[in-house]
Subunit: 259 residues, 2 copies
């Protein structure tokens, strides 16, 4: 039987709020078994850019990453957010180790080709070094990923943290029974966006198609759910969507996705 592994992604709004982050990291530290954390940096990068007088350019909610911006993201995601999370987890007896995709060549990517839009230094993932992660986990380390990959030619690349989480889960699924958790501000997929408790508890492939056709899954949930089913299609055991209480298993109000 395969050993269990949890891959947990936290949303930017948790990173921005000191108390929420501490709560989350406590819940994460209590999670049993092997685990990997993935985080972005939320609005912290935009805030630093603003202070430095650098304009943040967004198209359809995606950041245009020029040379100055990739430096800011490296500072904020790879430095401030990542090292603070690592230091705080150490104080909670988790032997955390912070990684970008360049560290240990853990996430290989290529710069997104320019079509209609030039996204700049944005990475599309080619592969994850599951061998490295297996080795780190085997010596009791807990990898903490920021949202950076690299092109192998010396360039760091801004990379969507949801995608990093699903690609890591996929990369590990051949070795571990892998559960992917997307932790965010909502309790799960909501039937009625105005009712926080209208959580759809279970979604399988046919339910997913039904919710898509009814328009229940829309806007920001579309790429999120796409990532979830992409992971399930590639041997990830299950995907859970919900707020921090989902990790502590002291609520049954979250969404579980299975094929």
């Amino acid at each position: 039987m395969k050993e269990k592994l949890s891959v947990v992604k936290i949303g930017g709004n948790v990173i921005e709020d000191e108390k929420a982050l501490d709560n989350f990291l406590s819940a994460f530290s209590r999670l049993e078994g092997l685990k990997i954390l993935v985080h972005g940096g939320g609005k912290l990068a935009t805030q630093l850019a603003t202070k430095l007088g650098i304009e943040s350019k967004m198209i359809d909610g995606r950041r245009i990453t020029d040379a100055e911006t990739v430096d800011i993201i490296t500072m904020v995601y790879g430095g401030l957010a990542n090292k603070k999370i690592v230091a705080q987890l150490q104080s909670k007896n988790i032997n955390a180790i912070g990684l970008s995709g360049a560290d240990g060549n853990s996430i290989q990517a290529h710069k997104r080709p320019v079509k209609q839009i030039d996204y700049g230094f944005v990475g599309d993932i080619d592969g994850v070094s599951s061998e490295l992660l297996k080795n780190l986990l085997s010596i009791n380390l807990t990898p903490i990923f920021c949202a950076l990959s690299h092109d192998g030619a010396g360039q760091l690349l801004n990379t969507n943290a949801d995608t990093i989480a699903s690609e890591i889960a996929i990369g590990m699924a051949s070795v571990f029974e892998t559960t992917l958790y997307y932790c965010f501000e909502k309790k799960g997929v909501l039937l009625d966006i105005t009712d926080e408790n209208s959580v759809v508890k279970n979604i399988d492939t046919s339910k997913y198609k039904e919710l898509l056709s009814k328009g229940v899954i829309a806007d920001g949930m579309l790429p999120k759910l796409h990532n979830c089913f992409h992971a399930l299609d590639n041997n990830v055991e299950k995907v859970c969507l919900g707020d921090v209480s989902m990790l502590d298993k002291n609520t049954k109000l979250f969404t579980t996705l299975k094929l």
Copy 2:
């Protein structure tokens, strides 16, 4: 017989200069055998602080590290400098992994007690996890340390990179035949500060005392040489001081220190 290990510290002036950094990293990548790199961030932290309107306070050349400043150092040393070095080494076929002292609990420290001066969030090192470093080296990873330690209670601490390098060398000396390299802008310890080629090639304990009494070792070289002999007194095989050409062994003009 013990396996050989090189611990290399690079000076801030190399980090600040893109071409010099590339030259250095090429020389480092050609260095045979197991190796560990330690770097600070030079003036980059001061530059970012200035841009953000935060005053850099120095006393006797040492930075006073308040809460805002430790965040800046975490961004610049732990983020920008560390991840760029790691990405560039990956392009030179070195499987680099960037670490602060919090990552893998690799460098344990305590906040320097306040006596005449309150240095703020500055760390004095208590120990190095040689077991972790041995494990990382054994899976073909090359650790790249920035100048940050942690207190185990969630706080990152600004820590002198020369001291980190010597403490790592000392921590590894029981397992490896360890050489400590201090790479800086000079060719070594100079007999005459105005003559770049007046390098003292070999310094042992008695020569060290002679140079100290003659005032040849003064100012910034005093703590540097103190670090070197502290390492030698604690089982480090030898210490070399010089510029980048020392690493390539294409010069004999550098200083070697042995007991």
